[in-house]
């Protein structure tokens, strides 16, 4: 357990003079589920592509599964399952043909059986003979996931694997990832869903290619120093308008008739909430969520 599966530092990549990933470090332990978050265009995909040898970092380096990412890509590839953000299997092959192809490319032994098993596990069986291009978005994602797990990789690099997947399937997917993690498979996963972020062992949050925070969920929430109060009841909209103008409050988010009011000073936030709350509304202490933490981080990030 001592050797980290991913251990890179100073990784940097620019496209046409614009730095997209800026001196990023990452250390992921074996069996860990590591969440990778950041706003659109923050460099997540670019970073993951560098880990699996699709892009060459301009600077920095490190190891993946103990092999150098710059020079030993060929030894890393057989043990990594990469799922691209964009569907990258063959739309003009059937589900089964795609999986058989992936199995042969990885030199999987007994491909028929392995493919049959994975189709069963991912419930792809009934689509077996259907062209991948004809699948709905969520089923394509599942197929792609099945494709990158066939060869029993030791490291999964998943780039937004659940985008567009329904909640039931997402839950199943996460149960599987946890099952794999228990068996020692390491997962680096990028996502925009907060509930998924909460299911990771550890998280890293980046913006403009730079690391802003990392750690477990509680750590991150505690580290943000935010306190949250809930304002429940009628008059939520008027209260929101007032709170948004209030300097003591950093964020106000409406969830139906409940407002989540957050700010760095718990007492000040409570006072502001009580002043703004309309008649008949209740003010209660709430829990700061990851979303508030990330939005705070995002606002604090300086554009390079």
């Amino acid at each position: 357990m001592a050797d980290p599966v991913i251990d890179v530092s100073g990784v940097t990549k620019s496209f046409g003079g614009r730095t997209v990933v800026d001196r990023l470090d990452m250390r992921v332990e074996r069996g860990e589920i590591y969440g990778f978050l950041g706003p659109n265009g923050s460099g997540k995909t670019t970073f993951i592509r560098m880990l699996c040898g699709l892009l060459r970092p301009d600077a920095g380096g490190g190891t993946c599964l103990g092999y150098d990412i710059l020079t030993e890509g060929d030894r890393i590839k057989p043990h990594v399952g990469y799922m691209a953000q964009r569907f990258s299997l063959y739309e003009d092959l059937t589900v089964r043909e795609n999986l058989m192809f992936m199995a042969s490319v990885y030199g999987v032994r007994r491909p028929r059986r392995v493919v049959a098993e994975i189709m069963e596990r991912m419930e792809l069986g009934r689509f077996s003979g259907i062209l991948a291009g004809g699948l709905s978005g969520g089923w394509k994602q599942r197929l792609a996931l099945a494709g990158c797990m066939l060869h029993e990789p030791r490291l999964l690099l998943l780039d937004e694997p659940t985008a567009g997947v329904d909640p039931g399937a997402r839950r199943e997917f996460w149960d599987q990832v946890h099952g794999l993690a228990a068996a020692g498979v390491t997962t680096l996963i990028s996502t925009h869903y907060m509930d998924e972020a909460e299911r990771c062992h550890r998280l890293a949050y980046i913006a403009y290619g730079r690391l802003l925070a990392r750690g477990g969920v509680e750590e991150l929430v505690a580290g943000s120093g935010l306190s949250t109060w809930l304002v429940k009841g009628p008059g939520a909209h008027e209260a929101k308008v007032r709170l948004e103008a209030d300097e003591r409050v950093e964020q106000v988010v409406a969830f139906g008739n409940t407002l989540h009011v957050s700010g760095p000073d718990a007492a000040a936030v409570e006072r502001a909430a009580r002043e703004a709350a309309g008649p008949g509304a209740r003010v209660e202490p709430g829990e700061t969520s990851l979303e508030e933490v990330f939005i705070q981080l995002m606002r604090g990030a300086v554009k390079p």
């Binding site: 699996c52 040898g53 699709l54 892009l55 060459r56 060929d74 691209a84 964009r86 992936m102």
Partner: protein, 366 residues
């Protein structure tokens, strides 16, 4: 709509360059390469006579600018070989004692053999030859020998259009067509097939798997070699049974030798795919390669009729040499030995393109 189209056109530099480049290339090639009356065709002489008559005959032939004397032959066998290999376009045979029998008014026979696989290349020179020979000799003879009837020529000019005596253009075109069709379809097919992987994002997946670039290349090439053979089979069948092209040589040999040509074209396709970003560009670059092949290989215009720069460009292209192989085997009945001469330029071209392709093949997405 129009504005958007122009903006997109400007973004795609290569496409834009091609839109200008292709018509330009075509015009230049057509304009300069066409020469329907080729001159300076290589001539070899097999002479058994050393009289001033034969010398002034040869001088007159060169002055006409139709013929360039490139070799003097010493035997019949050498003459046949030079024609089979395509080293020379014509062989002139001057019989022993030509000068003497000319003076005696015996009307000796002058034999001009032409490699007429491509009738277009030789017809002008053949027509000119008869008049030219008569005129040159008559001048030297200071008055016709008394034994000749008035108006009778002092020599008997015999012209043999070898390999294609009836000058049927079709015989030459059909084998040529085979090479041309193979070039166009094979280059395009592979260039598109690989670019499609990049465009659809499947290359991203492929590159993270343990497959090696050479495997990707071969994976794209091998199936299409079979496609190439299917095309060849169809064209050869059509040539034989629809167009009655006579096959003097071994069809099997043609098929065997074609493997280099097919592979070379497929590799060009692969290499094109490493140079372009999308399928449209791949298509355009394929056409860009195809046009010179079509125009400068000797398919459209007789190779020897083209200006030197065009011949130089043409000599690099595999189609040029492939045409010589196919015409050589099918129409002249050439065997392996004669064909090998034209095979190595194809092989060299192929290796060079493989080199570029492997160097350019990106194992990464950037």
């Amino acid at each position: 709509m129009v504005a958007k189209e122009f903006v997109q056109m400007r973004r795609d530099r290569l496409t834009f360059a091609m839109l200008i480049g292709i018509p330009l290339l075509q015009t230049v090639l057509f304009g300069y390469a066409i020469n329907s009356d080729p001159r300076h065709l290589p001539l070899a002489v097999l002479s058994g006579d050393n009289s001033p008559f034969s010398r002034s005959l040869i001088a007159a032939m060169q002055t006409s600018s139709y013929f360039d004397l490139v070799r003097t032959l010493s035997s019949r066998g050498e003459a046949d070989r030079a024609l089979d290999l395509g080293e020379v376009q014509f062989v002139l045979t001057i019989p022993e004692g030509f000068g003497r029998s000319l003076l005696r008014g015996e009307r000796p026979v002058l034999l001009l053999e032409a490699d007429a696989t491509d009738p277009g290349a030789t017809s002008g020179a053949l027509t000119a030859f008869r008049a030219l020979a008569v005129r040159a000799l008559a001048r030297d003879l200071s008055g016709p020998p008394s034994s000749l009837l008035p108006g009778e020529d002092p020599v008997t000019v015999r012209v043999h259009a070898q390999y294609n005596p009836e000058a049927v253009t079709r015989y030459n075109i059909v084998p040529g067509l085979m090479g041309t069709i193979l070039t166009l379809t094979l280059v395009m097919i592979t260039a598109l097939a690989i670019t499609r992987e990049r465009e659809r994002g499947t290359m991203e997946n492929l590159l993270t798997t343990p497959v090696r670039p050479l495997e990707v290349m071969l994976g794209k090439i091998v199936p299409y070699i079979l496609v190439g053979y299917l095309q060849m089979g169809l064209i050869l069948l059509a040539a034989r049974y629809l167009f009655d092209v006579p096959f003097h040589g071994s069809v099997v040999l043609v098929l065997l030798l074609s493997v280099f040509f097919i592979a070379a074209n497929l590799t060009v396709g692969v290499t094109i795919s490493t140079l372009v970003r999308n399928q449209l560009q791949a298509l355009q670059l394929s056409v860009f390669f195809f046009l010179p092949s079509l125009l400068l290989s000797g398919f459209m215009f007789p190779f020897r009729g083209m200006p030197e720069w065009a011949q130089a460009v043409g000599s690099v292209l595999p189609l040029t040499h492939y045409l010589r192989i196919v015409r050589g085997v099918l129409l002249k009945g050439n065997g392996v030995a004669e064909a090998l001469v034209h095979l190595w330029p194809i092989a060299a071209f192929w290796l060079a393109v493989i080199g570029i392709g492997l160097k350019r093949f990106r194992r990464t997405l950037d």
